[in-house]
């Protein structure tokens, strides 16, 4: 092969292999899962709790979807009052229902008043200043030797 076409071939191969990862997507189950993910998250809006429920649902589906891959219909569990369909159902469904029952106790946010938050910041600042003063003393001691 002549050198110039060979070089052009190598160039094109190297350029194509430098595709950033984000532009490559597998065309299978995970694509559908990401769509489901989007639907759950966008429908739920900004609610952090529904994000967590959505995440659990996704995990459950990912674990069980292999068995249902042949069928095009998705049997979504009816939560929050899901019934266990068979004794062989795995723990994830239980986990999911238990989880959604705790909707009134969202773990991914915290109820704090601003007053408490301000006090906590002040205590943390004092701790920081004490520690910085101690460090400064140590550095000056080291420098003085």
């Amino acid at each position: 092969m002549k050198p110039v076409p060979l070089v052009l071939l190598i160039t094109s191969v190297l350029l194509t292999t430098h595709i950033p990862l984000s532009t490559c997507r597998p065309r299978d189950l995970s694509l559908m899962n990401s769509q489901l993910d989007d639907v759950l998250l966008n429908r739920a809006g900004d609610d952090a709790m529904s994000y967590l429920v959505g995440e659990k649902l996704l995990q459950y589906l990912q674990r069980n979807l292999g068995a249902q891959k042949a069928g095009g219909v998705l049997h979504l569990p009816h939560f929050p009052t899901a019934q266990l369909r068979s004794p062989h159902e795995d723990n994830s469904l239980e986990e999911l229902t238990e989880f959604s029952k705790r909707n009134d106790d969202p773990p991914i946010s915290i109820d704090l008043t601003f007053h408490l938050l301000r006090n906590m910041i002040e205590m943390a600042r004092n701790e920081n200043q004490r520690e910085q003063a101690g460090l400064n003393r140590k550095y000056l001691d080291e420098a003085g030797k």
Partner: protein, 321 residues
């Protein structure tokens, strides 16, 4: 084309496609190149390490606020189901949280999640309009990505850790570091008094400076765009892509706060305003066409001033629960 120039062209083409470089600065002390120093070039994280005896260590509490760099360990003496640790740095810092050793039962329902920002009563700072990442990317779960990606970085000077440990004896240790952010955007102020200059250098983004106190804000200088465009001020702030707004409210989410003032033309010289709300925010919206800059100072409103404001106003915009 002659043979040599063709060869040179081929070589040039090959080098352009094959080489991707990262510039790396290596500080050599005592003219001594150590193997560790050279190997650090291969390490993508250049750590700013303190000597062992200078690292601050303490135990973490279930509800905690940390503003000092160091190593923090939480040990569950009994099942702890709802714990949160707030991290805060100086306005020009970003937070880096590294998992040092984690002993939890992921399958048993334990989790450790880092949130890029602060969440309080369901309200997030920075709001979804002001943060570059979508909501689900702001949570990073140790059980999913903690082993492969042990260092999590925030985009602003605040971050949070949420965790749940079911078994007593479970524990984890994290190292909290503060890294320098040259153009801070989205800041929570640690103090009720201070001053700040926010610069957005030709980026299409919105930045908020949140002061969780009722304060008087004095804007010293505002520079929007390159020219003082009179035409723009006639349109009003609604039409302008670059403006500064003062918000007041009782939550962390800036998109749910009440606008107190809009500024859409450059000026010099102090303009002040008292905002008697639990949270006061200076928010800059930038189109990305210009370098925008706002300098302001703030001081805490005294109790008497607040009473006076309540007496003067017909309607209290910031209602206290």
């Amino acid at each position: 084309m002659s043979g040599t120039s063709r060869a040179q062209l081929c070589f040039l083409l090959l080098s352009v496609t094959a080489l991707r470089g990262h510039a790396r600065f290596l500080d050599i002390q005592d003219n001594d190149i150590s193997p560790e120093g050279l190997l650090s070039l291969l390490n993508s994280e250049l750590k700013r390490e303190l000597p062992e005896e200078f690292v601050y260590r303490r135990a973490l509490r279930c509800l905690d606020m940390v503003a000092v760099e160091g190593q923090f360990t939480f040990t569950a003496e009994r099942p702890q189901l709802n714990c949160a640790v707030f991290f805060i740095g100086e306005p020009s810092d970003i937070i880096s949280i590294e998992y040092d050793s984690v002993n939890i039962d992921c399958r048993g329902g334990d989790f450790i999640k880092v949130f890029d920002g602060w969440v309080m009563k369901g309200e997030k700072f920075p709001s979804t309009q002001d943060h570059p990442l979508p909501l689900y990317e702001r949570y990073s779960d140790y059980c999913e990505t903690g082993v492969t990606r042990p260092i999590v970085r925030s985009s602003q000077n605040v971050a949070m850790l949420f965790f749940r440990l079911h078994q007593s004896g479970s524990s984890f240790t994290v190292t909290f570091r503060k890294l320098i952010n040259p153009f801070p955007c989205n800041v929570v102020s640690q103090t009720p008094e201070g001053s700040f200059t926010m610069i957005i250098p030709q980026q299409h983004r919105n930045c908020s400076f949140s002061i969780i106190y009722p304060v008087e804000i004095q804007i010293g200088e505002l520079s929007l765009g390159q020219h003082n465009d009179l035409r723009r001020s006639i349109l009003g702030c609604a039409g302008s892509g670059d403006f500064v707004e003062l918000l007041g409210g009782n939550g962390m989410d800036t998109s749910k706060m009440y606008p107190m003032a809009d500024l859409c033309y450059s000026f010099n010289g102090p303009a002040q305003m008292k905002v008697g709300c639990d949270n006061t925010v200076v928010r800059m919206v930038s189109s990305g066409k210009f370098v925008n800059r706002v300098s302001f100072q703030y001081r805490l409103l005294g109790h008497q001033e607040l009473q006076q404001m309540k007496g003067n106003s017909v309607e209290d915009v910031c209602l206290r629960a």
